[in-house]
């Protein structure tokens, strides 16, 4: 085994000698995700599989690059995540950390990557602070953020006639932020927020809040919470027959894994913004088939797609720079190169680190419309890239100033 390895290494070295332009570049990718808890299905093992797939498809070996992947579970704790990130950067020679669902952990890693001049490719985390006040020259925020979700969903729904809103909000900073962002869009476009109710975090009984929402007669009920709270809210809304009686639920942070968990019976009619749907075109379908095979049949979420695409673009930048050592230089190159991949199409990385691409407004199908497992979404609107993300000036990102 060892002999084979050294022979291979020798062969690669020889190949490197034969092609003087392509000296071997070593890259080590660390996938830091939630492997065991609430975000494990939307990130977790699927993110590792997506990163691995990106490396395979990039055909790194043929380009004189040796790419290694390591992974770890941050247990949704900022201190654990920050400790792993430091250790990876200081000790284990990791050049880039990808994914990191959970905004608190992502912000911690953001700081460490900047301090050590490495690269951080965010796919799983939602907070728009990563490209706002806490933006960093070493970070690219790929898939989505709270602003894009709130804005996309709010705008598209108001434009389609959903002009009265009632919010059901988780009572903490994240929920308040989602509600405020969405309300701003709704009122700007001439819609009206008729009321809102705050529920405690990790609630189990939403009946009184849902009854208030029902009594408000708002056309749209904005669900400004996340994870288990969202799932409970939607399930119980189904039990109250809210959607059947003509009101619509607007989810402000929904992943396909949530819809899969809820089932179509409970989730039908839910409208929300997503960056990626596996059944959009041939490229995404091929990706989904391979991901499902590699990840217990789970079809890829937008987080997995973001990991794949961001790793691909990162490797292109490293190839162009012929080195992964300087994190800021790599990210600068990522910003200079236009992005192009099978999952998100053509796009760019903005100076504040925000990846710009189209976002989509989806509605969950009725059980009768679905043709089989994982056939869940129908497209309601495409939000063009230029409108999908927060304008640069509004983010107050210090590095984008000059």
């Amino acid at each position: 085994m060892r002999n084979l390895k050294s022979m291979l290494l020798g062969a690669i070295t020889l190949a490197g000698l034969a092609l003087p332009a392509a000296a071997q570049v070593n890259v080590k990718i660390g996938v830091l995700s939630d492997m065991s808890s609430l975000y494990a299905d939307l990130g977790g093992a699927g993110s590792v599989a997506a990163a691995r797939m990106a490396v395979e498809d990039f055909n790194a070996a043929a380009k004189g690059m040796r790419v290694e992947i390591v992974s770890a579970d941050h247990q949704n704790r900022a201190d654990v995540g920050s400790n792993i990130a430091r250790q990876w950067f200081d000790r284990d020679g990791v050049d880039v950390i990808v994914d990191v669902p959970n905004s608190g952990v992502a912000l911690a890693v953001n700081g460490v990557a900047r301090e050590k001049n490495k690269v951080f490719l965010v796919s799983g985390a939602a907070t728009s602070a990563l490209t706002g006040e806490q933006c960093s020259p070493n970070t690219v925020h790929w898939t989505y953020d709270t602003w894009a979700l709130a804005n996309g969903t709010g705008k598209a729904i108001v434009q389609q006639g959903g002009d009265t809103w009632f919010f059901l909000t988780a009572d903490y900073a994240f929920g308040h932020q989602l509600e405020a962002d969405t309300s701003a869009v709704v009122t700007k476009l001439g819609g009206r927020v008729v009321g809102s109710v705050r529920h405690p975090l990790n609630g189990s009984d939403f009946s009184s809040f849902l009854l208030q929402a029902q009594a408000s007669r708002a056309k749209i009920i904005g669900v400004a919470n996340a994870g288990g709270d969202t799932i409970n809210t939607i399930k119980q809304a189904g039990e109250f027959g809210i959607v059947r009686r003509g009101q619509s639920l607007a989810g402000l942070l929904i992943f396909i894994s949530d819809v899969h968990g809820l089932g179509l019976e409970a989730a039908q009619g839910l409208v929300f913004t997503d960056a990626f749907y596996w059944d959009a075109n041939d490229g995404t379908r091929a990706f989904a088939r391979r991901m499902a095979a590699a990840n217990r049949g789970i079809h890829p979420t937008m987080v997995h797609a973001g990991v794949y695409a961001s790793v691909t673009h990162y490797l292109k930048a490293v190839e162009a720079n012929k080195s992964a050592a300087d994190g800021k230089a790599t990210v600068d190159r990522m910003k200079a190169l236009p992005t192009d991949d099978a999952l998100f199409g053509k796009g760019t990385v903005r100076v504040d680190g925000r990846k710009i691409h189209d976002m989509y407004l989806y509605e969950v199908k009725k059980p009768s419309e679905s043709k089989g497992a994982w056939d869940y979404y129908k497209l309601r609107a495409t939000i063009p890239a230029a409108e999908a993300f927060r304008p640069l000036a509004e983010g107050k990102c210090p590095i984008a100033g000059s």
Partner: protein, 320 residues
């Protein structure tokens, strides 16, 4: 009971075998950052200090506080805020965190020590949960994002803490100082009264001790030292987050103390090292971490009820 009564003259000094262990510990602390990753060792030291502070209360006064994350987490927030927003140098930031722990300890302690047993634990838990929700909502804590990018700064204007190794020796010194302080508290006449209260509270009252004042004093000391641990942690990781104030943190420190050995001098240190190493080195196992943790806990509870150090002490027939 902690062994046979010893003459008073010996009580004030450290027994020979304990002194040997402390010397060994200092030696290990000196070389450890060259063998293991220093940030990891610092994390272990923080939690070891936290567990020692907790042990002061449960091991020597017999009070099971289920809200120690309150002092740990809030001190982390206050010292992070002091360093980041007010621009305090690290030594003052850490001291303000410790002061925060002491003040919170005074408030919580004054309310909680009026009750005993499970009611005491429940009151501490309830107050800690209130403080948790306050941390979740207050704007200055950053909610679930936490307080991030806390500058490390320069201690006493001399020591540049941005260097991991310098920071390590500062943390190790703080840890040793606090550890010896706890040792001193436990083995002082004051500590003897605490143990008397633990063994038989009515008798301590009948002997004329103002039990409530002793308990409150111990509670405040424990809270202040827990606060010290939290404040140091926020300087190491440059962040303070909700997980530090969450009730699971209170549970974790109970676990560390139990695994290491309740009411032993060195137990909490061993317990913290075991639990933190598990969290760190098992992180790569992904979803198996929690399973492995659970199994190890069950094995500890079934096989060594007195904790690792407690069992060793029982074998050697010497207090450790």
């Amino acid at each position: 009971m902690s062994g046979s009564p010893t003459p008073h003259a010996k009580e004030t000094g450290m027994p020979k075998h304990q002194r040997a262990i402390v010397v060994a510990m200092v030696a290990v602390l000196l070389v450890l950052p060259h063998l293991l990753y220093p940030v990891f060792v610092m994390k272990v030291l923080c939690f070891a200090l936290f567990a020692c502070a907790f042990n002061l209360l449960i091991g020597y006064v017999g009070l099971l506080s289920f809200g120690h994350a309150l002092f740990f987490g809030w001190a982390a927030y206050v010292s992070a805020h002091a360093a980041k927003i007010w621009g305090f140098p690290p030594e003052l930031a850490i001291l303000s965190g410790m002061a925060c722990g002491a003040v919170l300890g005074l408030v919580v302690g004054a309310l909680a020590i009026r009750r005993q047993g499970i009611y005491f634990s429940m009151i501490t838990l309830a107050l800690a949960q209130m403080a948790y929700f306050f941390a979740l909502q207050a704007p200055f804590t950053g909610g679930e994002d936490g307080l991030q990018r806390v500058p490390r700064g320069t201690m006493f204007g001399l020591l540049d803490l941005r260097n991991d190794l310098v920071l390590y020796y500062v943390v190790a010194a703080i840890f040793l100082g606090a550890f010896l302080l706890i040792y001193r508290i436990v083995h002082s006449p004051f500590g003897q009264v605490l143990k008397a209260i633990r063994e038989n509270e009515p008798r301590a009252v009948s002997l004329g001790y103002r039990v409530d004042q002793y308990k409150l004093a111990a509670f405040v000391m424990s809270a202040a030292l827990a606060g010290l641990a939290g404040a140091v942690k926020s300087q190491i990781f440059q962040l303070a987050s909700l997980s530090d104030v969450h009730w699971t943190m209170s549970g974790e420190v109970v676990l560390m103390t139990l695994v290491g050995g309740l009411g032993t001098v060195f137990g909490p240190i061993v317990g913290a090292a075991v639990i933190i190493s598990m969290q760190n080195y098992l992180a790569e196992l992904g979803s198996w971490v929690t399973v492995v943790q659970g199994v190890i806990f069950v094995v500890c509870v079934l096989a060594f009820r007195r904790g690792i150090v407690g069992e060793i002490a029982a074998k050697l027939k010497k207090p450790l």
